[in-house]
């Protein structure tokens, strides 16, 4: 399956979904005007990948400085797809790594919220 690479902008994060290099990453700020338009292609990609490669690992690295409420919801759709992928084969290397600053209370709390809602390995990793 071809990689999905979307360049970073002032309002949207960099997306790297590259099965060849085993690299899955969402990094930057997320305040798109229309979150559905931005995140649906990413959701579609991860859904198709999971369907066609049920035994592959997906270790998603998430490093977001800021996100608006519509981004939160749609990111959750994506995380839950990876959650279901994990449930299918319980592959030990499928997980979500949530990167944030230790001092960033909002992002630490958001990470913990997602961790509680999902049922897959979810690691909160401090950047400093």
């Amino acid at each position: 399956m071809d990689a999905l690479i979307i360049k970073i902008t002032k309002e949207t994060p960099e997306i790297i979904f590259n099965p060849k290099d085993d690299l899955y990453s969402i990094k930057g700020k997320s305040l798109p005007e229309n979150a559905v338009d931005f995140y649906k292609p990413i959701f579609d990609w991860i859904s198709n990948f999971s369907l066609n490669h049920p035994n592959k690992n997906i270790a998603l690295n998430v490093d977001i400085d800021y996100m608006n409420s519509s981004s939160i919801k749609l990111l959750f759709f994506i995380f839950n797809t990876i959650n279901k992928h994990y449930q299918t084969n319980k592959n030990a290397n499928t997980c979500i790594n949530w990167f944030c600053s230790k001092d960033d209370e909002l992002m630490v709390n958001k990470g913990n919220e997602f961790k509680e809602l999902l049922d897959l390995p979810f690691y909160i990793k401090f950047k400093n």
Binding site: N34, V36, F43, L117
Partner: protein, 355 residues
């Protein structure tokens, strides 16, 4: 909350932007960016508006009264800056404090300049440019003459003594197509609105995504809020979400609304208002009442329910539907709201969050 009252009070102004409080040079570029987001139909007017915005704002920072304590730190001046779009053009107004002795000199200068025609103003401009006796702020009056040259008609102004040493200077310049009528002196009305209600920023008009981003950048430069702190991140999250609500849910053609930021002792009150279909008021009030009634655990459960129950891209609104819930989770206080009936089918929805 009087957002609808403010909306209707300035009925003749389609767009209003007012900033009040402490100003520094840092804000200048943000004001210019906000201005360029406005639709001035005429390119020439647009350029003049841009010039007048920067020049009139910088007059506050350059020439406003500065107390001795502030002199050694960054140049910060108290004042007000406003622009408004009226039927035939634009009005720009500023208010700042000046030394009373300086007020007398300025009054004489303005009286003289207002008497000059276009040709005489140009001559005066050139004469002043080459004059050697520049003021301690380096302006030499050139800025003032430039403002007059780029405006239509005379400058309007008032000097109001505050005490025996300081006066308040109200200044208004107009960019109006028709020179038959003299616009109202709105600057004083705007100042009264802001100062009597501790309002830091007031905006009536069109809202969109770009404008939301510009407003938050301006507030980041103006306010004494560290945008990297927990409080700062929460504050700016709420500002963005409430601004988004205006242009995503407003039921008028132009995404019209009102945004207001008010200082209330140790809190900031963030208020937004927009038009909605009257049929939606019950749904909104039920939802906000529910949010206000829930404790932390209740909010958590509702959050989980909303995230899992609406996993449908086709039916997901671009706003996501969890904005108010996210806001409620951040603040330890009630979300206040109000509906004003506009017509049988239309209401004005106002919301206030304190942080």
């Amino acid at each position: 909350m009087d957002l609808y009252k403010y909306y209707t009070e300035f009925n003749n102004s389609n767009e209003i932007f007012i900033l009040y409080g402490d100003f520094s040079d840092e804000i200048t570029s943000h004001l210019s960016d906000l201005n360029s987001n406005l639709n001035a139909d005429d390119k020439k007017i647009s350029k003049r508006l841009s010039y007048l915005t920067i020049e009139t704002f910088q007059n506050i920072v350059r020439h406003g009264y500065q107390s001795v304590e502030e002199k050694n730190s960054k140049r910060i001046k108290k004042g007000m800056f406003a622009y408004t779009k009226v039927k035939d053009g634009f009005i720009l107004g500023t208010v700042n404090e000046i030394k009373s002795e300086k007020a007398e000199v300025l009054k004489t200068q303005l009286e003289e300049l207002n008497q000059l025609n276009e040709v005489e103003l140009k001559e005066k401009y050139i004469e002043t440019l080459y004059r050697e006796d520049r003021t301690e702020n380096g302006g030499a009056g050139v800025g003032l003459i430039s403002v007059l040259r780029k405006s239509t008609g005379n400058i309007s102004y008032i000097f109001e003594p505050i005490n025996d040493k300081i006066s308040r200077f109200f200044f208004q310049s107009n960019l109006i197509k028709s020179t038959d009528t003299t616009p109202d002196f709105l600057t004083e009305k705007f100042f009264n609105l802001m100062s009597e209600n501790d309002i830091v920023l007031f905006r009536k008009g069109i809202f969109n995504h770009s404008y939301m981003l510009l407003i938050t950048e301006l507030l980041d430069a103006k306010l004494n809020v560290n945008s990297d702190s927990a409080y700062g991140k929460s504050f700016f999250f709420i500002v963005r979400e409430l601004l988004q609500n205006i242009y995503q849910h407003s039921k008028t053609n132009n995404n019209e609304g009102v945004f207001l930021l008010r200082e209330d002792q140790d809190k900031l009150n963030i208020c937004c208002g927009n038009f909605i279909e009257s049929s939606k008021t019950k749904l909104i009030s039920t939802y906000i009442d529910q949010l206000n009634s829930l404790d932390k655990l209740g909010l958590k459960e509702l959050y989980k329910e909303k995230l899992f129950s609406q996993m449908d891209f086709e039916n997901t609104s671009s706003s996501g539907g969890i904005g108010l819930l996210e806001i409620k989770k951040l603040v330890n206080s009630q979300i206040y709201y109000n509906f004003d009936t506009v017509s049988e089918k239309m209401s004005f929805f106002s919301i206030k969050v304190s942080i």
